[in-house]
Symmetry: C2
Subunit: 375 residues, 2 copies
Amino acid sequence: MTKLWANSGDSHFLEPEDLWHQILPAAQADRMPRSERIGDDAEIVHVDGESFERKLPKVMTRKGADGLTIAEAAHRPPGARDLHERLKDLDREGIWAEVVYASIGLWSNMIKDPQLVRDAAHAENEWLVSEVMGVAPDRLVPAALMPMLQVDDAVAELQHAADIGLKIVSLPTGNPPGTRPYNDDSWEPLWAAAEEANMVVGFHIGTDNGDQATAHRGPGGAVLNYVETTYGGQRVAMQLVTSGALDRHPSLKVLISEGGASWVPFLGDRMNEGYRQHSAFVSPQLQREPKEILYDQVYASFQHDESAPASLWAMGYHNVLWGSDYPHLEGTYGHTQETLHELFDDVSPDVSNRIRCGTFRDLFPHTSVPPADET
Amino acid sequence: MTKLWANSGDSHFLEPEDLWHQILPAAQADRMPRSERIGDDAEIVHVDGESFERKLPKVMTRKGADGLTIAEAAHRPPGARDLHERLKDLDREGIWAEVVYASIGLWSNMIKDPQLVRDAAHAENEWLVSEVMGVAPDRLVPAALMPMLQVDDAVAELQHAADIGLKIVSLPTGNPPGTRPYNDDSWEPLWAAAEEANMVVGFHIGTDNGDQATAHRGPGGAVLNYVETTYGGQRVAMQLVTSGALDRHPSLKVLISEGGASWVPFLGDRMNEGYRQHSAFVSPQLQREPKEILYDQVYASFQHDESAPASLWAMGYHNVLWGSDYPHLEGTYGHTQETLHELFDDVSPDVSNRIRCGTFRDLFPHTSVPPADET
């Protein structure tokens, strides 16, 4: 079987548990969130001098047939925490360059002090440059953390991230509590700064603000909730299109990671229909049709979806890219070659190369070209 | 230009304003909901002896460039209320047979008395048979209203609707307040009854329970809210798949009207990914993969979406059908021929015929075959 190589628009790294004490002054590190399990289905979260107890959702506590929870299974691959082991894994799987999302990202919504969020993001981004990107600068593309409580803070940290060489920032799909939705003009300075700095804006699905997500229970609930995560990514893509943010900044590129890709043609058609049929009620008017903006500036990564290649060759969506979701359970670890062959053996080399390699290199031209496929 | 004919999986009829007094005893008719406009942006709703005031959303009150609100523009075509005028419109547009949704459908959520809901649905369904279906039994396929406060009532009315010759029931995409979500086993008798009666279960989008829908404001809001309506249709389709309802009733057919169609391959892939990758946490296990169930038993109608034909020829989804949404603003009234040519001129006759005519006749084999396309 030919070994196929692919870049990945969606991967994860688990930081060391004592990261904050490594990179922040002790007085600040002590204020950062940490959690403590109590019993089988609850935890206490300590953050900035306050504590609260919370029940863990069943999907987090239930053990699968292998006796592991989802989180335990997700971090089983040897490279989840160790970058040198990780590169061996990637070479074995056939993954060349990858966007690497940090795992501590969700903390920022818990902290109310903007200064603490600013300092933590600033310090972690420097750490990402030296400890992650530094290990393989032509392959590992870490996503910068962003202080999102105040737009000015996000702008300043985006500029800092660009200065130290980061190429993508990670934003949550749900705007953080206390901020306005992403279609609001208050975010305009952030989009302008990202375009100016040539910084990709990345949204990883599953980072909705809790109040905005729909939760299902009962029969089929696990699959329903899994699918539901894609809608947060679709929403932020269309907020940036319909509000005119992407229209005003035509060089700005957005990456929606792990949400699939064949929703893009559908969403483009549907936005066009609303935009045209309800035109008397639409504001703002755009320079280009919504679908054109979406196709040009929104990139979307998928793992297994067999319909994703056809979204390119049959529906004209060129900015689809593959993602491994390494090391998570929804990803392809352990079966990457099998998946790549299933996806690409029956499509043209152009389509295969675009989705495996080319689309990624539109976003990150500083990365090196993957090795030739090996027979 | 060749005149193309198509069946429509999505059309609407506006009942007479005094319908309840025509078909219910006066004491019951007086208790049915009616609304009274007060000022520019509010109304008083009277229902069953109670009254409440409610503010109307901006999209309902704003006037477009033509000086009409969305509701006024939607009901401008002559056949919106008059079935003989309607058939002339359909002939002119090139629409042959159509599913006709009633417009008073939303009232049932407002009434708390199950007996009143039962009697009103029973009476309106008889009226639909004599006054709508009766006008052109081989072309007009009215969707039965359903009393949804109690599952047993819905089952009984479905059987009544089947007895009097109706072929499809209309259910709201959001389960009514006080009932369990559609993936709950409490609905099982309804799915069993529909399969037994060979009754299509239709869900028209835009009928979410208000608490379940996401509302957008600010720039781009009109388009965002338009797109948002599709998610209610996608959710109910996947609730019926993942809960096992369609797996247990393999002859049951579901129609999602007006929500587009090219979301189906995407949703199928995503359900399969969750079902397989989270298999240790999934319940119930299904006899077939979720995507296979979705492709086989869920039918979806679209109006303008240029990617919809490719969802058939490139992604293998055979149950896509066209819909006019007559007489609404989101539909093709006035430009049906232009739309049909744009959609189908460049695809094979097999694909064109399937989407325009064949898929519809899978659901409603009692309708007559559309005329041959006229050159």
